[in-house]
């Protein structure tokens, strides 16, 4: 079985991918920033030196979230290193971990056919990364766009399951924007890792959204987390500053690409994410 190189293997997403591939008995070469710092001028050459023609390469490394022009420049420097490495040492398959931030914030049903129209620096960074990699990579190339991720080991504290879980445990409360009406598609990190495994196994090329297809409201998630807590948790709304928007995904492309895959239902995923951080690490 050929090897999979994970670039950005020490992060939340990269780590989960490495673990899943290892569980499946797939040989991996995990590379983190301590192995190759993609911001350094010689990073492209260093990365190329690690690659073999029959490798699959998963590109996870990014400075996320990208908030401004300086962040964009650093992210593009990393993409440049990736592109230079893949030009110097072509490989068999490349999987780019992108983001659903490439889509516009419109109340619509999103599919892979929905035009990318990023409104945030983070979305623009991911879209630029997709375009630049598409121009540079000759091998089959997949752009996988996960929606909102959650999981026990998530180091981010963004609005959603991870933050709700922490504030519920620490302060006994969960603060919602408005009444938490917005529906979003929250995808468990394990499901993302499994979809990446399937993409590698089937040498998937093209765009695919990594989503469950079942969007739930933030309030629904807050209530589920409160119900799982071992102490009373107050769910507090706040005056709404922005209009309510929802995002749903059409998962037909995923159904056709990976028919055997079944996403983890939110109730099971939240229970799994509730495992203490220590036991996961």
């Amino acid at each position: 079985m050929s090897r999979t190189v994970i670039v950005g293997a020490r992060g939340f997403v990269g780590g989960a991918i490495v673990r899943r591939l290892a569980e499946a008995g797939m040989p991996t070469l995990p590379l983190g920033r301590t192995d190759i710092d993609l911001l350094q001028p010689d990073a492209g050459a260093k990365l190329a030196a690690q690659l073999r023609p029959d490798d699959a390469v998963v590109l996870v490394s990014a400075e996320a979230p990208c908030r401004d022009a300086a962040g964009m420049v650093r992210n593009m420097a990393m993409v440049r290193a990736m592109a230079e490495a893949l030009a110097a040492q072509p490989v068999a398959h490349v999987v780019n971990i992108s983001s659903d931030a490439v889509y516009a914030d419109e109340p619509a049903l999103v599919s892979e056919d929905t035009p990318a129209a990023p409104a945030s620096p983070h979305g623009a960074m991911h879209r630029a990364r997709e375009v630049l990699l598409s121009a540079a990579v000759k091998a089959p190339l997949a752009h996988l766009r996960p929606s909102l991720l959650y999981g026990a080991a998530d180091p981010h504290n963004g609005y959603g399951p991870n933050r709700f879980r922490r504030t519920a445990a620490k302060d006994g409360k969960i603060a919602l924007f408005g009444e938490g009406e917005e529906k979003r598609d929250h995808v468990l990190i394990d499901d993302v890792a499994e979809l990446v495994r399937l993409a590698i196994a089937q040498r998937f090329a093209g765009v695919l959204n990594l989503v469950t297809g079942k969007s739930v409201s933030f309030r629904d998630i807050a209530e589920r987390i409160a119900a799982m807590a071992d102490r009373p948790v107050a769910i507090e709304g706040s005056p709404r500053r922005n209009p309510v928007t929802h995002r749903h995904f059409d998962v037909r492309a995923r159904l056709k690409a990976f028919q055997q895959f079944r996403p983890t239902p939110i109730e099971d995923g939240l229970a799994r994410a509730a495992a203490p951080l220590e036991s996961v690490r």
Binding site: D113, V251, R252, K256, Q259, R262
Partner: protein, 408 residues
């Protein structure tokens, strides 16, 4: 008076048979002598209720056309997978026929052609007219005999139609609407786009019904009683728009819009939604664990053997790794797309040991299936019945998980 129809596939054969039924001497011509021989032997190339070639004078000799006063050019126009018409065979047939048609005869293009096509023919040869066909697969004979109206494209609609052509059309006893070529060609497309619009509204709201706990089956009859919508409106929820011709016409409008700078984004949205609804069974099956499925009906609609754009084939295509058994009373099992499908010879045979069944074509005979018998034959209990062929209560009583379009 003798009328000829050239091109003996669906459109030509059905139209010729309808003319012959009106007592008109009808010549049926096709350059394919083997096809003519098969039709003479009673082997019809299409399945249509009530279709018979018995009254036709069949020929493969173009010289026989010299006896005809009106010559219809009526081959079916094939469409490609990307919904483009291929008019090359039509053009070849016209070139082959033209030298044999009498100078005083009228030539009528009955095949569907893109706007502008017939005027270009007329500029070459002023004997040309265009007539809109409004065949419906499965009801073609009935509609060809009793059209609601006849739309005629001409160079100058103020001029009287040629005598023989006018007297032939008069036999149909319906309004005759002469109009300029481009209007008639676009009228055909307009009819199909109106149907697409209604179907798209229906399918969009049916999907919303499924999410809201409403029932489109209760809403549709209320709409039919609205004078502005009407009793025959296309309000039955379906697996997308279905049929190749409406999709082809939507694609034509999108292409014409792009060429002329007209906004056709609404038509593009219809196509997108149609694709999504076509995958309704696949979405439901994805939520279940299915290793064997029985499919009842492969044709794209009842009373036809055509599988072009069939939702059943789209479903089979999306079911890699699932064993499929299928039954259809009409389709040709030699079709390559059915290579991996087990051929069941009766509906219940297709249901045997299935985890789920999908009734993909609403053939009348499926209405007679007893839900209890289906439940006995199946291993699982999931029944996807998009067109509501089976009785919901009887299915529930038999322990079947009966899912239909437009109801939660």
């Amino acid at each position: 008076m003798t009328v000829a129809f050239c091109g003996m596939t669906h459109l030509g054969l059905v139209s010729a048979a309808a003319a012959a039924d009106l007592g008109v001497a009808t010549l049926a011509f096709d350059p394919d002598a083997a096809l003519i021989a098969r039709i003479k032997a009673g082997e019809l190339p299409v399945h249509e209720p009530g279709l018979s070639a018995a009254k036709l004078r069949l020929t493969a000799a173009p010289s026989d056309l010299a006896a005809c006063d009106v010559v219809y050019i009526a081959p079916d126009v094939p469409t490609s997978d990307d919904r483009q018409s291929d008019i090359a065979p039509l053009t070849r047939l016209i070139d082959a026929v033209l030298p044999h048609v009498r100078r005083d005869a009228t030539i009528v293009v009955l095949s569907q052609v893109p706007p502008g096509f017939t005027r270009r023919l007329w500029q070459r040869d002023p004997r040309f007219f265009y007539q809109v066909e409004t065949l419906v697969f499965g009801q073609a004979v009935e509609r060809a005999r009793k059209p609601e109206r006849i739309i005629v494209g001409c160079a100058d609609p103020a001029q009287k139609l040629p005598v023989a052509y006018a007297s032939f059309l008069a036999k149909f006893n319906c309004p005759i609407l002469p109009m300029r070529f481009e209007s008639a060609e676009l009228a055909k497309i307009s009819i199909n786009l109106c149907l697409a619009a209604t179907l798209s509204v229906t399918n969009t709201l049916a999907e919303l019904c499924e999410a809201l706990g409403a029932d489109w089956g209760e809403i549709a009859p209320a709409l039919r009683l609205d004078r502005r919508i009407g009793p025959h409106a296309y309000l039955n929820a379906g697996l997308g728009i279905g049929g190749g011709n409406i999709g082809r016409d939507i694609a034509t409008v999108i292409r014409l819009g792009a060429e002329h700078g007209t906004d056709t984004s609404v038509a593009q949205a219809w196509l997108g939604h149609s694709q999504r609804r076509r995958d309704w069974p696949l979405m439901l099956l994805a939520a279940a664990h299915v290793s064997q499925i029985g499919i009842l009906g492969l044709a794209y609609k009842e009373d036809t053997a055509s599988m072009k754009n069939s939702p059943a084939l789209a479903l089979i295509d999306g079911l890699a790794g699932v064993r499929v058994a299928a039954y259809d009373p009409a389709v040709n099992w030699q079709d390559a797309e059915l290579a991996y499908v087990k051929h069941a010879h009766a509906p219940l045979e297709a249901c045997a040991d299935a985890d789920a069944i999908a009734i993909m074509t609403p053939w009348r005979q499926f209405r007679d299936l007893a839900p209890a018998a289906i439940a006995d034959a199946m291993r699982g209990n999931l029944v996807l019945d998009p067109y509501r062929v089976l009785d919901h209560g009887a299915c529930a009583a038999a322990g079947l998980d009966h899912r239909v379009l437009g109801r939660a």
